[in-house]
Subunit: 155 residues, 3 copies
Amino acid sequence: MAGKVETQLKTLGITLPEAIAPVANYVPFVKTGNLVFVSGQLPMKDGALQSKGQVGTEVSLPEASGAARLCAINLIAQAKAACDGDLDRIKRVVKLTGFVASGPDFTDHPKVVNGASDTMVEIFGDAGRHARAAVGSSSLPLGAAVEVEAIFEIT
Amino acid sequence: MAGKVETQLKTLGITLPEAIAPVANYVPFVKTGNLVFVSGQLPMKDGALQSKGQVGTEVSLPEASGAARLCAINLIAQAKAACDGDLDRIKRVVKLTGFVASGPDFTDHPKVVNGASDTMVEIFGDAGRHARAAVGSSSLPLGAAVEVEAIFEIT
Amino acid sequence: MAGKVETQLKTLGITLPEAIAPVANYVPFVKTGNLVFVSGQLPMKDGALQSKGQVGTEVSLPEASGAARLCAINLIAQAKAACDGDLDRIKRVVKLTGFVASGPDFTDHPKVVNGASDTMVEIFGDAGRHARAAVGSSSLPLGAAVEVEAIFEIT
């Protein structure tokens, strides 16, 4: 029987990707006590970066928000692996940190990172409501427009 | 009877604002175990951003340090809400991360973030001494000069 | 008798420095439960910053990676102090966050921060494998090329 969160994913038409392997000497997540620290995720889909460049100039706000949503989906794919496949073990999305590639005049970081925040609440309901920081980065790995990292509490 | 920390706030002449509601689909803080993760706070006062622009060019060091102090006060207002109003339940300020809007030639991030660190120690004494990172951001939400996030340990 | 990690440090020819005192009103680490939050470390050696400027333009990739390695060594020196000198009490490197001073065209943040990640795995083996985020910063304290912060789990 499909779990509650899996059912919600289906309702939303979201298919989680296979958890992406990191490209270096680190791991996609570490469990410590009831917390899972998930590595920063980029807007990857089917192995390809979907959104590249500085937000506000090279990347539009709607595209950047969509990129943040992709980051969230990739974070959840990692969290699923951390829960041995059972997303109902996620008790709370504790914290998201969203890094937005942007120049000195950009001010809409919250709107961009909302793409990740809204996705968490759509999928997990109240358990998806998290503490958050959204900040600008001069540049991100591979030239990504957005990177989001997360802390989850699991049971 | 006023608590120890509330008394210290009074001595210092600091009035905590009402905890500011976040502007999006996230929450100002999440409790997990004994930890409280507080969302990144901007130098807001009475609903208005007090310090805007890049530090070192558009915003002076003293102003930026004052902005970091405001961020700290807003963090404590959120922590108070997390403690159901009893600041004496704060056992330790665990970690501050300070993001300073700044260009490539800026080097004084520590002096800016000291505005937040000093405020924590003034108010909480030794319990206010925290781990910290201070880094530059190309830009911050609303054009803020500084953003600070925090982790508290509570009882 | 030297511990397992100390022996490995010797094999690798790495001498840990004295834990560096912070330059402001904060502390190098805070323990909370089994977690140790270590403050952001710069590529300091013998009291002097070893790598200064933007990576990709002023600082080469190999130099930046070496700077990240230095940050890792300084993080471990702090973790050792947190463990009262016994590095075998480190159960896991939970999380690294690497900030790379860089301009808008830089894309190789992961290669830079690998200098820290590889060092953790060389020294701690599987316990050194961590969650990670690598992002660009417009500038860093003292003009440093790299800053890395860490969370450790200890026993």
